[in-house]
């Protein structure tokens, strides 16, 4: 297997391993915990390295994971004192721990071959050079095996506890009633996230782990509300960005992890703009449509209230309802297209259909059934706003 292929394979495995816990973090509104963990494991890694003098020792992973869980516990403890809010607690804990790590590196600069840049960025390009030898034979890059095992454990746990995770994510109360403790699920998820962050740390660095965890999940969340689909989509986005990022880095001769993140960013931007229902363009279009339709309803109600011609004169509408010219024309045209009004001699009159629509809407409004207006529009409107 060539080095190029191996790097892409490692990148893809890291992306999948990060995407799966990422989905749950995003859904549980705990995305920033991944940021906190990825920073605060640094002292654990440095301490582990100072003890073992081996960057690939399993002790490192263990110590770092423990530091990650300690971070979570510390954040929760500070929060429980009620002295500061949760976000402040997170914001206080991880910079302090990270600072300790950076200072430890600086103070032991001669012994530690850990570079602060590498901590933030990782170096995927060197990953294939660190081989795993079993009985003298080369069976592939070490980080591929490490991340591969983490991924297998994650997938195993995901299948084993899918139902429990789902329930505890969406309804913690129900979950404890049914007998799966949300606390156990919470700390389980936190431990898996810590392990994944530690494993991925080597390859992509502290900050970019956060991107690999959150971005695919957030992108998928804009496209679907189904947990299984969301998991699938985020895995696909993660892998795509990983491979595309590798080739972009190859092209620009720049950092691989930086390019992977940039690719994730581009994918997110595209989905953010163009997602069919929840994308920004769709949302803005819908908001505009709704605004016009609400204006239309107000306008029809006004007509319904006034029989005198002076109130129904086209020029009067501008001042009375205080709309801009363009706005009133849009509303007027929409009403005409939908056969709600007729205009003769600049006097606007409700048609039979318009009257029917207005009466029904009015009834829903006075009986507090506003939610029924939306489906009613489907029955009456030929053209939407």
């Amino acid at each position: 297997m060539g080095a190029q292929l191996e790097i892409q394979l490692i990148a893809a495995v890291v992306a999948i391993a990060c995407a799966i816990p990422g989905v749950f973090l995003v859904l549980r509104k705990m995305s920033l915990i991944s940021d906190a963990i990825s920073h605060s494991i640094l002292p654990g890694i440095v301490l582990g390295f100072l003890i073992t003098h081996d960057l690939n020792s399993p002790w490192l992973i263990l110590l770092a994971t423990i530091t990650g869980v300690i971070t979570v516990v510390l954040v929760e403890a500070i929060q429980k004192t009620g002295l500061v809010k949760e976000d402040t607690a997170i914001g206080l804990v991880f910079p302090a721990l990270f600072s300790i790590g950076v200072i430890l590196i600086a103070k032991n600069a001669n012994d530690v071959h850990l570079d602060v840049d590498a901590v933030l960025l990782g170096e995927l390009a060197f990953a294939p050079f660190d081989r795993l030898l079993v009985a003298g034979t080369d069976i592939g890059p070490k980080s591929l095996w490490v991340m591969g095992s983490i991924l297998l454990v994650t997938i195993g746990l995901l299948f084993a506890f899918f139902k429990e995770l789902k329930v505890s994510t969406f309804d913690a109360g129900l979950s404890s009633v049914l007998g799966f403790s949300p606390v156990v699920m919470h700390y389980g998820l936190m431990s898996i996230s810590s392990v994944t962050v530690v494993g991925a740390f080597d390859a992509v660095g502290a900050v970019l782990v956060v991107a690999l965890m959150i971005a695919p999940a957030a992108t998928a969340y804009l496209l679907t509300s189904d947990l299984k689909k969301m998991l699938m989509l985020s895995v696909i986005f993660g892998v795509t960005a990983a491979v595309a990022g590798y080739w972009m880095a190859h092209l620009l001769d720049a950092s691989i992890s930086g390019s992977m993140t940039t690719m994730l960013g581009l994918v997110f931007l595209m989905v953010y703009l163009f997602a069919p229902n929840k994308g920004i363009i769709a949302v803005m279009y819908r908001q505009r449509q709704q605004r016009t339709e609400v204006s239309l309803l107000t306008f029809l109600l006004h007509l319904n209230n006034h029989t005198e011609e002076s109130e129904r004169h086209i020029n009067h509408l501008n001042e009375h309802i205080n709309w801009q010219k363009v706005r009133s024309r849009t509303v007027l045209e929409l009403a005409q297209k939908n056969n709600m009004i007729t205009i003769s001699n600049s006097i606007v009159t409700l048609t039979k259909k318009g009257k029917e629509f207005t009466d029904l809407a009015l009834e829903y409004i006075v009986t507090n059934k506003d939610e029924k207006i939306e489906p009613m529009k489907d029955d009456f409107f030929l053209f939407r706003g």
Partner: protein, 369 residues
């Protein structure tokens, strides 16, 4: 260099004076604006903004090719603002929650910045060295010009805070009410956010992208523990910030090979820790002491009540009873009895106790409450 030596040199050495003044001003402005961030529950916004500023620095360098601090900081300001408004857009227009939006902007912008930095490093132009000081900050690179800029921005910021004091305060504690009074909440909101971004950008050179958020948060979180008044909190936060800036710089300057950022953050963290434990009103220590005291008082009252129940039907309330009968009552210890004697509720003679008139009334009052 020893720390004491540092402080004696501050007044004579030009470079040291500049650096110390710079970090002090920076700490002060960060503390002030950080108070708003903490109270608005936007603590982590600072983290996202500071990371989001990185690509701005790299792009400004790529476009202009110079390392002029002001130009780079303008780039940082622009990309920080873009990040901030994108976060807002995401929270208001989509169903992504604020934590996801913050995490996304933070990591994606930072990753893009790192890509640009690594791209710049491969360029033949030898001018690129030193851009990575923006990652962890190096106060030693501060020059007179930077400090002047900081002082000017801090001055403007102070004037704006004083001018809009009432509006800021109201928006902070009751946004809906402010809106109903007819204030342009959107404008006030943008104004505060803009200054927070500005403060962060100013701090990048000294503290660095990665740890800037703590510089914003820690002094404010510490100050919050000592007061419930916004004005006092702002002043305290500014002081804490300035002190952590100065001490942090002093420590990092007196050691080899230490970036300023992490040291300043740790000093600020010490301030927070001390405040959490020792602040008289909210601190953990005094809260615990108050808790113990309350429990002791309750125990005394429980014992008194028990005694009262015994003597209530007696013709003579001060008739002595054996201490033994208190033994099967849990709240009773030798100490409680002694305390009650001090309060003049009971009299102990030998192995007997008797309720005093005063104790009887105290017990009666307990029932009345």
């Amino acid at each position: 260099m020893e720390i004491t030596e540092y402080f004696t040199l501050v007044f004579t050495d030009y470079t040291l004076r500049t650096i110390t003044l710079g970090t002090a001003i920076l700490g002060a402005i960060c503390g002030m604006l950080g108070s708003f961030a903490v109270l608005r529950k936007q603590s982590l916004l600072g983290d996202a903004i500071s990371h989001a500023a990185l690509p701005g620095i790299a792009l400004a360098f790529l476009i202009t090719g110079t390392k002029d601090t002001n130009l780079l900081l303008i780039g940082a300001l622009i990309s920080g603002l873009i990040g901030t408004f994108w976060i807002r857009g995401m929270i208001t227009k989509t169903h992504l929650k604020s934590d996801t939006a913050l995490g996304l902007i933070l990591s994606l912008f930072f990753g893009f910045g790192m890509l640009l930095l690594s791209f710049i490093q491969k360029q033949p132009n030898a001018n690129q060295a030193g851009l990575d000081k923006y990652l962890f900050g190096q106060a030693a690179t501060l020059v007179q010009k930077d400090v002047t800029l900081m002082a000017i921005v801090t001055g403007i910021c102070l004037v704006v805070i004083l001018l809009f004091w009432k509006e800021f305060k109201m928006l902070l504690f009751d946004a809906d009410y402010t809106k109903t009074l007819g204030f342009n909440t959107r404008f006030i909101d943008v104004l505060i956010t803009f200054f927070i971004v500005l403060a962060i950008v100013l701090g990048l050179q000294t503290v660095g992208v990665v740890l800037m958020s703590a510089m914003l948060l820690a002094p404010a979180a510490a100050a919050r523990q000592w007061t419930n008044k916004l004005s006092v909190m702002l002043v305290l936060a500014a002081l804490f910030g300035a002190f952590s800036g100065v001490f942090g710089t002093a420590i990092s300057a007196s050691q080899n090979n230490l970036s300023t950022g992490p040291v300043i953050v740790l000093v600020a963290a010490v301030f927070v820790l001390v405040s959490f434990i020792f602040s008289p009103e909210r601190g953990i220590l005094f809260k615990q002491i108050r808790f113990w005291k309350n429990r002791r008082d309750l125990q005394l009252q429980k014992t008194l009540q028990f005694m009262f129940d015994i003597v209530r039907d007696h013709p003579d309330i001060s008739h002595p009873h054996a201490i033994k009968i208190l033994n099967n009552f849990q709240g009773y210890t030798k100490n409680t009895l002694k305390k009650m004697e001090e309060k003049n509720w009971v009299q102990v003679k030998g192995m007997k106790w008797s309720l005093t008139q005063e104790g009887y009334h105290a017990a009666e009052n307990l029932y009345k409450q």
